[in-house]
Symmetry: C2
Subunit: 192 residues, 2 copies
DNA sequence: CTCGATTGTCTAGCGGTGCTAGGATCGATT
DNA sequence: AATCGATCCTAGCACCGCTAGACAATCGAG
């Protein structure tokens, strides 16, 4: 019995190693550099081992995305809980979101740009993703305004943040105005 | 002299054919299906011919993106010019933007999701892209509000539209609420 | 303690990708 | 009409994601 448990532990550990290595490699050299060969070499196993843990590269990306979603949810809640008042809370939320995207570009790509084979807006949406949206909803629901569905407002606010994050990182928006855009976004969208 | 001109015409025609075929193939089967081999086969030339027109696949994507940007600018101006009053104009602009993204997903991807090797927010930004932004600015500048830089406001509005477009198309946002989100966006962001 | 079965891992390879070197062919010019 | 340069294609490179089948290590039964 204990032998089997040890093996399962080792297996789980190796799976974490795969995901962590993929994430690290992606942050260092971009997702294009994350090939199954390079990944296998880094974890010091052969390629087929990857396929005994994941169906393919997509699922590895998906695993990184889920890890990232959980981290983002934590970061958002930490930022909002340290803020006093609705406006400060929403500002902190927006900053934390954009900051996460800027600091973890590869993870953010895994979550929203790449195909990680993850479902959304359905019942089979993975828990961490639903929770990250819930973290947004918690702070944004209170500033949606009268007669506006909190979820709809959160979707819009999220979309704006997502647009800012991706366009900024792609070099489409000058980074030095990020703070001003953030404040404008909050002051216009949120009903304080 | 005329011989050389004819050859140049033929060459230009073939280049248009390449771009149009790439776009068509991408809209039909997605950009993953646009391989240099398939593209070459469709235009009934061999692969190396592509490389006598473009440095590589990236540049082909970039060419589709530029074509799309020009079309989008036209579509945005057409939509706004047919609207009376600031709010109607901004609503029409937002609808036209989201409509373009939804109707031309592959082109939109070429413009903003894929790496087409295009520069942005620099002096060497290609003209069609600057013009598309200008088309946004024309209608949004008048509703930026006092003391708010029109360009900054346009960037924010654009980011929100971009976020709505990409998240909706990726299945992250339910499409049936698009209209409600659009109206909420306009009524909150724009100072009417 | 040995031996067969099961599990785990690796080597090798398939069909595909973007891209290019080098030879053949065609056509305009002298 | 001969030449010579532009044009295009065949063939191939290194790499990709993924998998079949051989091999070794480990386990359980006798």
């Amino acid at each position: 019995m204990s032998v089997q448990e040890r093996k399962e532990r080792e297996r789980a550990g190796r799976e974490r190693l795969i995901v962590a290595t993929a994430r690290e490699l992606a942050e260092q050299q971009g997702w294009d550099a994350v090939t199954t060969r390079r990944l296998a070499e880094r974890i010091e196993y052969s390629q087929p081992v990857l396929y005994s843990h994941f169906r393919g590269k997509r699922e590895i990306i998906g695993a990184v995305a889920l890890e990232g979603a959980a981290e983002m949810a934590t970061a958002l809640r930490a930022a909002t809980s340290a803020a006093a008042g609705p406006r400060a809370r929403v500002i902190a939320l927006a900053r934390a979101y954009l900051d996460f995207a800027a600091r973890n570009p590869a993870v953010y790509d895994a979550m929203f740009q790449l195909d990680g084979g993850l479902a959304f807006a359905h019942e089979d949406t993975p828990e961490p993703l639903k929770d990250a949206f819930a973290a947004l909803l918690e702070s944004l629901g209170e500033v949606a305004g009268d007669g506006v569905h909190p979820a709809l407002f959160t979707e819009l606010f999220w979309a704006a943040l997502h647009g800012l994050a991706t366009l900024t990182r792609a070099g489409r928006l000058p980074p030095e105005d990020t703070e001003r855009r953030t404040e404008l976004l909050v002051d216009r969208l949120a009903m304080l």
